[in-house]
Amino acid sequence: MDSIVIHSLKKTYGKGQPPAVDIRGDLCISKGELFGIIGPDGAGKTTLFRMLATLVSPDSGTAVLEGYDVMADYRKIRTILGYMPGRFSLYSDLSVRENLEFFASVFGKDLESNYGLIENIYCRLKPFERRKAGKLSGGMKQKLALCCSLIHSPSILFLDEPTTGVDPSSRRELWENLAQLKASGMTIVVSTAYMDEACRCDRVGMMKSGRFLTVDSPERIISGFDRRLVSVKSDEMFRLLHDLRGIGDVDRCYTFGETHHLTLKPGSRMTVREIGSVLAGKYGHKGVSVAETDATLEDCYMNLEEKL
């Protein structure tokens, strides 16, 4: 069953500007799905969230959430939706508990009867209940914000870059929480700049210039990677980057953690061994190691991003 259905949404801010969001065709997100959105800054992620959250009216097209139209039934949608905007910072002068109680009563709920859903997340915050929200660390703030957006047991949850500025451990905890929420049947749409997070989603939409370039499961996106991918390492990584770009058969080369990844141009027959000997010979690199490697979602992003 579809939880969210988007029919060709379009939104332009100001005359003469390119559209912020310009989705053509239909996109369906099913109930209980964890849907990730990735894309560069300005791709239209936030505008898309705002249109789906009934905060911004689309110029054309429409979207239906749990059977309610974002334009006609926006009041209904607001009762079933949890939304955590990117820069949501809660009320820093109110305590953790006061924030939570406030948001509970905004939705006409009391804290006790809805505590079950947030218990797992809130248990980490419990010792700091009386602390002002402004004094919490980044990770804790995000947990509290998540609790506040969940307090009314929404059927759909939108998270706009929830993990920006959050350390790796807190990020992992947050994603464990999302997995639990998903298991309870909640539909979750989340945008992120982290590819490891995107990999945890059922499906990922790669967005650029207001459009989805591709929407598929991470596995299928990765298996659709049709280039030969090579991972290279040497003792001088920065020089290596430039030298690799100088090799004619190399299409694209970028840093990748402790190695550099490169894709070879279509039709290139250059072998791993040949690359190694060019580097060691012509360029005089030491400690060279070259190997073909499997693509990750990040490689797919890097090469897809290049296309536009």
Partner: protein, 378 residues
């Protein structure tokens, strides 16, 4: 309703957590009133007055005793020649002198009237004009009483001419003790209530837009208009507290009695508070940042309050264009109404116009604010 009160509670929490702002809101009017009161009570004090009279006249001596009794003036003594007066003033023995020509008393009852000269040391022009104004006031009053006392059929109560600028002054007319402290109280009320209601309300609403919490609140079942109304309640309460504070200070510290109806004065103030809250709401629905909200409220609503309150300049002496502009300033009507009720003590029918205009403004502002208020971001 429960949601609504949760909001009101939250707003009160915000306000009480921000102790500094709260102190400014409560403290500012107190400081202003005490400062103005102090400044005004010392504006002229212990002015030494001399007398020159060509004839020895009982009536003139009684007048000087009356001047001496006033808290501002001290009667120094009589001088025999105009040169002596000049000399005394130059040496600083006297600051002002009252001078009567010969045949003053008889001329007083003649159709032509009598002449009295008031001279003042104009080294400090402000003080001089103030002294002349006060002195001529006392003199005019004295001769008025004098004339009515003897039931004279004389055509005029000694027409008074002064050597300095002597202008008719309404303020004096209604202020027999010559205390000018009255005038600034309505001005301060107009200023502070506008500050609390429009500036604080709009800034607090816009702050939610800036921090992103408005997005979350909009995406909730609560009616967005309730968010805004809930914001107004705490500031309404604070405005009322400040109003009471100002009135208590006025009555007990400045010792200025409320001349007219207390009920109507409170009612007029409440209308003004509601009008100001509406302005705050309207501003908040038009702007996105706290800075802009502060600037708009400050420049468009607060500065004119200062200008047109009569605290700085009398409206009557402004250019016509500015006088017209003053008509659209809500505070102008409020200050006028309060001045009439509180100081002149006139019956409420004389402030009907002010009340109607403020009510109409409140209705217009709220209508505009509600129309302008969006429950979406674009």
């Amino acid at each position: 309703m429960k949601e609504f009160f949760a909001f009101v509670k939250k707003e009160f929490l915000h306000i009480f957590r921000d102790t500094r702002t709260l102190l400014v809101l409560i403290g500012l009017p107190t400081v202003l009133i005490v400062l103005f009161g102090f400044a005004i009570s010392t504006e002229i004090r212990n002015v030494n007055v001399g007398l020159f009279s060509a004839d020895a006249d009982d009536s003139v001596e009684r007048l000087m005793r009356k001047i001496d009794q006033s808290e501002y003036f001290t009667y120094v003594g009589r001088f025999n020649t105009e040169e002596d007066v000049d000399e005394a003033m130059r040496r600083g023995v006297i600051d002002a002198a009252v001078m009567f020509g010969s045949g003053f008393s008889s001329a007083l009852y003649s159709p032509e009237g009598a002449e009295v000269f008031i001279a003042a040391d104009a080294t400090n022009p402000n003080n001089a004009s103030m002294e002349i104004m006060y002195l001529s006031g006392i003199i005019a009053e004295y001769f008025k009483d004098d004339i009515s006392a003897i039931h004279a059929a004389g055509p005029q109560d000694g027409s008074v001419t002064a050597s300095g600028m002597l202008q008719p002054n309404l303020h004096m007319l209604y202020n027999p003790q010559l205390k000018s402290s009255y005038n600034f109280v309505p001005g301060i009320m107009g200023l502070i209530l506008m500050l609390i209601c429009s500036l604080m309300t709009s800034v607090s609403i816009v702050r939610e837009k800036e921090s992103g919490s408005m997005e979350v609140l909009l995406v909730s079942p609560i009616r967005p208009i309730n968010i805004v109304l809930a914001k107004m309640i705490p500031y309404f309460v604070i405005a009322c507290v400040v109003l009471v504070n100002i009135l208590l200070l006025t009555i007990f510290v400045l010792k200025v009695p409320i001349a007219g109806s207390f009920f109507w004065m409170i009612l007029v103030s409440v209308i003004y508070i509601i009008l100001s809250l509406g302005i705050g709401m309207l501003v908040s629905s038009l702007v996105r940042t706290q800075i802009i909200a502060t600037l708009i409220c400050g420049m468009i609503f607060l500065v004119p309050v200062m200008m047109f309150s009569g605290m700085l300049y009398p409206i009557e002496s402004m250019p016509v264009a500015l006088q017209w502009f003053a008509q659209i300033i809500p505070a102008k009507w409020f200050i006028e109404a309060i001045r009439k009720i509180m100081i002149e003590g006139v019956p409420v029918r004389y402030v009907t116009v002010e009340i109607l205009i403020m009510t109409a403004m409140a209705v217009a502002v709220f209508t505009a604010a509600v129309i302008k208020f969006k429950d979406k971001l674009d």
